[in-house]
Symmetry: D2
Subunit: 462 residues, 4 copies
């Protein structure tokens, strides 16, 4: 079946690999078209308004955002990220959502207009998966309905958070309450009063012999006494309103025991479920950022106002080669993201773990390089607010460290690989064994036995 039969042969569909086009349901096609139109016509053109409103009052949801969120919700475009196997899902697969997420990624805030922004996405998936009915009614439902925002509190400044077993924000049980003490980085800044709940990970059982069972997760209402914003965190100088990033102190913060998620000591079980999709959502969006940055490079290349040494910038073949490299790389990144999303759809998040790591390692690194190159096309101007490129670069750079630096993910992949080494050794040892059999058949070749030994000397003998 030719994909042309079902998929519109225009942007954004034509950018998708054929095998992806083949898999899009009619419903997904319709939603992707709506999201495309939304971003193109309602959101990107509204960026200056969004910026102006945020400049006036950064830590309130801007009126424009409110209005767009209302419209997005009415249009049925909320929470598209939640995969179809959840009862609460609007019905897209991870692969189908990846198409939407790329479009939303063209702007830092666009995802929020459709309630598809971090950390709410991860929190919603977490709550849908691990919360009980009462917790869902109280927190999941209003967050999905866009009636409140949520935060996620895991990273700490005083330990190596890339190894979350070292997290030390303390959670004590006292009677019917948990008491929290600690300091956390990232998660949303908390000045925006719509942020009403924090999912917090802390150390509840420091002496458990299994270090993977020492931590728990709690739902913490932001207005609980003792929750204090120390400061907004800037990321490469950007504060990312209206939610931003916060440094938060927890001082004797008390929450009811019913706010515990899943059970004591089960934080890692939950965290793993949360972080996987979150990482791939970031990567999907970054591909969209790359596309927008790349379009800007193309525009610069054909801007008749810019003619160094009498030629358009795009008439220099060095720039033509740079464009080609970027085009090729962006498409390769998209392929990785789509392939991972499809693996998650077919085999589940756990089997998708390798793909998620692959994307997490490659996509933000390559994207930052691509956007940096696009800035370079704009010369000095490319680094100023004359273009959105510096913000895009910063987001891509941020994702390299968000949810763990890439070296932590490399270590994980590499250690899994090492585990496959014995099977590989056995396979190559079989080559040697079989070669010895063959060598007998070819005994006319001088010294063939020794040649066989030499050829597989690199395989240790057991």
């Amino acid at each position: 079946m030719s994909p042309a039969a079902t998929v519109p042969q225009h942007a954004p569909f034509t950018q998708y690999p054929i095998w992806v086009q083949e898999k899009l349901s009619p419903k997904a096609i319709s939603i992707i078209q709506q999201v495309h139109s939304w971003v193109e016509n309602e959101f990107i053109p509204a960026e200056p308004v969004m910026r102006a409103q945020l400049a006036k009052d950064p830590w309130q949801t801007p009126p424009l955002m409110r209005s767009l969120r209302e419209r997005g919700k009415k249009a049925g475009l909320f929470n598209l990220f939640l995969p179809s196997h959840f009862p609460e899902s609007p019905g897209l697969t991870n692969l189908e959502y990846a198409c939407c997420a790329e479009l939303l990624g063209r702007n830092y805030w666009a995802a929020q207009t459709l309630n598809c922004n971090a950390p709410d996405t991860g929190n919603i998936e977490l709550m849908a998966k691990y919360c009980n009915a009462a917790q869902k009614a109280k927190w999941l439902q209003p967050v999905m309905a866009g009636e409140m925002l949520s935060s996620y509190s895991m990273t700490e400044p005083d330990v190596a958070s890339s190894d979350p077993r070292t997290l030390q924000c303390r959670i004590h049980r006292e009677g019917n309450e948990y008491v929290i003490n600690g300091r956390k980085l990232f998660g949303a800044a908390l000045h925006n009063p719509e942020i009403r709940v924090i999912i917090l990970m802390g150390l509840s059982d420091p002496h458990n012999p299994d270090p993977w069972k020492r931590h728990s997760m709690l739902l913490v209402p932001t207005d609980t006494p003792g929750v204090k914003m120390k400061r907004h965190l800037s990321i490469m100088g950007y504060t990312h309103p209206p939610e931003g990033h916060g440094e938060v102190i927890y001082e004797n913060v008390r929450v009811p025991a019913e706010n515990l998620i899943l059970g004591e000591g089960r934080a890692f079980e939950i965290a793993q479920g949360r972080l996987g999709p979150g990482r791939i959502h970031h990567c999907m969006r970054i591909v969209g950022q790359c596309e927008r940055a790349y379009e800007m490079a193309l525009i610069r290349c054909t801007d008749a106002r810019k003619k160094p040494r009498g030629k358009l910038i795009g008439e220099f073949d060095s720039n033509i080669e740079r464009l080609a490299d970027m085009r090729i790389e962006i498409d390769a990144l998209r392929l990785l993201v789509f392939n991972t999303a499809h693996t998650m759809d077919t085999l589940g998040n756990k089997a998708g773990k390798y793909g998620i790591a692959q994307c997490k390692i490659k996509v933000p690194l390559a994207a930052a390089r691509i956007i940096d190159e696009c800035m370079q096309f704009y010369g000095g101007q490319g680094l100023t607010q004359h273009t959105p490129l510096p913000e895009m670069w910063t987001y891509a750079r941020y994702v390299r460290v968000a949810d763990g630096p890439d070296s932590a993910h490399r270590h994980q992949v590499g250690r899994d690989e090492i585990r496959s080494a014995p099977a590989v050794q056995a396979r190559h040892a079989r080559y040697r064994a079989r070669a010895k059999e063959l060598a007998k058949l070819f005994s006319l070749v001088d010294g063939i036995e020794e040649k066989v030994e030499d050829a597989w000397e690199y395989v240790p003998k057991l």
Copy 2:
């Protein structure tokens, strides 16, 4: 449908992306298994014998190769590369063949045991597509049957062959014959007497106003008087017997006019059809080489004989990260190759051109880097004949220049991209236009009109 239902859940199948597993026909699955077994059990273990036979007499097809070719042919594994839309095809799609080619790529000579080696593959596809019945009977049939070998003669040392319009090997019509004079590089070396025919590209109509119509292709029997091997060409010191690479002089070589392919002046039409699949075949095989090289790195990492500073090589986390990077990169390369093969299957070679270029640019470059890294794992030994890595690296490096250096392909992709720039400019101009409409709605924001102008200043006004 879960892919597990149809695809064996073991190597090599589990390495394929799920969407690829889903697309493999039962016939393809069976053939892939046969090829896997062939390479694992018959070919790789026979490498020392092949080397020994070639060392003795490099420019004859070695007895082992003959015997393997006979068996391969009987097993129905010949010419798997020829896609299913050709009547002569054994019935695999490009995607399905890609799975086979990767396995064959584990060794430089393995493809030849199944008649899937360059330049015969390209020549067969060319003849199947463009030759007339008489030509097919005389040349295509015996080459497909493994009864003769063929060569391809295009590159010239005296011009910039990356722009093939500059090729100047002369083809004159004289009566019922064409007379050829020129010098060519690459294509097979001609000492092996089984090589019986050369497909040669030359300049037949130098004054045609259209430079794309000045060249023609001829079938040249290797025993035609005037065809002279000047020397074997080495590639980074390797001569690649039993076919190798040759520098060939054509001095007043006369062939009958009926040896013209397709028509005078149609060489570029033919060449384009030939080179696309050829390029992707190389890339498929290179992925297989990377896998084998990577396996060797894994083995070294867990070789108990090697314990610098008391630790296994794979206990150094720098090496763990290197393994992860290689694993991730190889899988990303495979994804590119598979995606391109599927595009060719679905939309044809022409629509697949971009994907082919993408693979041609990225795969050999990345593969050479990966294999180089694997050599480094072996220290000094890695560069010697103690491992097959130097030969593998050389093949990957060679593909970077075979069929055009990567910069030529980048230029092509980049120039196509530049053509899309006007549509991109229009799209971004629409952002500005729409933003002006929105600005009116938000006139309460101070200076919003100017902010809109500033935000899209980068878009030239027409």
Copy 3:
């Protein structure tokens, strides 16, 4: 003579190459020690105060800066950058100043405490070299005395400023005045009232057949009517107070004709003299930034609070390798900078042009990579204001585009290289000629004549 005889064997001196240590005069040694102590004891520890004062009132010179400038001036540490061949110079060579500049580079503002900051440095050198006595008395003297600040106005948003022949800000002569109309980017922002003069480059003679003689330079007092700040420019989000970067509109700005520098049409002559040293100053300072960033990575590596998987960050050998790579690269960059400074000292700025380009291309690119790596050592925290690394990265990134993007410099170097090709061809042709003579002596070697031809086939014959 051992350098130990004259140079203190402690930091920062021990970081200098021996040949540099050998060249430092006793005076320079004393000044370097003073600057070192200044930066270590007075400036870096005062950063929080500087930040706090700037946060309150960004576009005024902060009281701390004033006080430090006064003390710096009294200590005789003003204007160290102005090389010893100027009568106004405090007496250091470029090489000696490079040692100071590196120390000053440890912080973005430190140079300004000693009147060694761009754009004043470039402007001072320009005025010292090209202004007449009256101009010097009016502008050079007070800028050198720290009584006023200056700006430089060259880049334009509407043309390709990397080819400054395309600059189009218009300068008309009307009677005894020049009238200026245009828009400029960069140069300082103008809100700080201490900035009293702009050196502006504009198009005064658009029809001059020699495009290098169409532009002139003018001294423009900032309070001249028609000079308007359109906005502060941010660089990757940073505004760099108290001088910052501005987008400035010139509308019918009138200055007396006596404000012309050197003569009409001589802007390029002046610009070249200005930009060379400016570029190398940036590079010197960036090396200092790298050192500071690197020190932070070292600290993180040995921070006992951070023990992922039970080991210090510096106990992972991947990080040990990263440290080594950074150490080695920083030292290599310093060597480039020192070598260029010494070439400028010995042979002049013009002969130093190549070295300046070499530094401009390599240093900021490598430095941004190094600082980025250091951020990565700090994980998510590394991108926040918890460390000064994001600001350092931004400065290094900025220098990649300041004074021309690196590709423009590469083009210049490459074109100069191409000019040397005929001599290289001749040299290799001589090899061939000589080889033919030798071949006669060795005529016993079979076919030696042909081998000689083959060996130098790559050399075109004239």
Copy 4:
């Protein structure tokens, strides 16, 4: 003093940094000129003859080599590498020799014509430094006189030789003899009968508690019974006659006890002294290879026979940028080498260790990249024997693993760096302490104490 006063202002002198020109003695200038002329007029033009003679009989010193060595010796150009502090030295400093070595590096064999080739260079320096008078008379003198060649036998295939403490080739004392058993890689192949002595490192005292004192070095005449060449080793397919690389088996090889160098257990002391200069010599020569490769790229860029799309290869600005990058990089590499050589001259080999590691890590890696790029300029032809580029690349690649892979050197440098971390921590802790003092002076700034704490939070408190 202007260097022009003493140094000829033509090639090769003008390529040297000014500070190097300043340091060349009149004697060195004269020798460099002779070596330049030697390589230009006698050696490079004789390459085809050398190749032809080696093709005929690879494992004999070719007649041309003999004749050139005789002439070189008569001209007083033998053993230039041996630094002036040795009584046997011809009188150049390391820095001065670096200029010669770069010229010799233009060809793989040229160094041998002047007795400056590995492994003889390292062996000569070792023997000059550590052998007793009798050993010198027997071995050092004839090797320096070019009357015999030597080999060096250290690397083993069965252990991780990058950690030489694991070397296990056994040396037993039996009476007045040492008995050797083991297998070694590299060092020269031994077919050439002029190779008369091997310096061998082996394990003599396996139970010594200090693993750095378990090994010894012996002088082993090649004709000792039990010394057996197992095979020639190829390096990326090249065998490097007439000395090549060998895999050598030692079976009950007996040498007199007087052949022990320096003393039992002192092999590491000796090895360190040997390897440092050897590494830097390789790097010096590689710079010369880069220059020759680069010249070939320049020639290709201006070869009128090559005009893809109607332009010279050097008229494509992508190639112009590539040339610039290569030029800049080669000069940066030379600077590293010269700086290290000068450090060795001034402070000795031990203090030069860091510089040697810096060169060893950066130079071969960058050089292989540069030569690879030059091959790419030549397209497919660049990888064949039509150019000397593949051999040059192979040599550069080889040096990346010779004397230890670069990661081993990085580990060494990185571990030394880590040792400097406490001092760095203390320095940054002083910033904090001083900042607290300053904060008191500026108590008017709100919350300055906390800002100080925050600014140095990254510094651990003791």
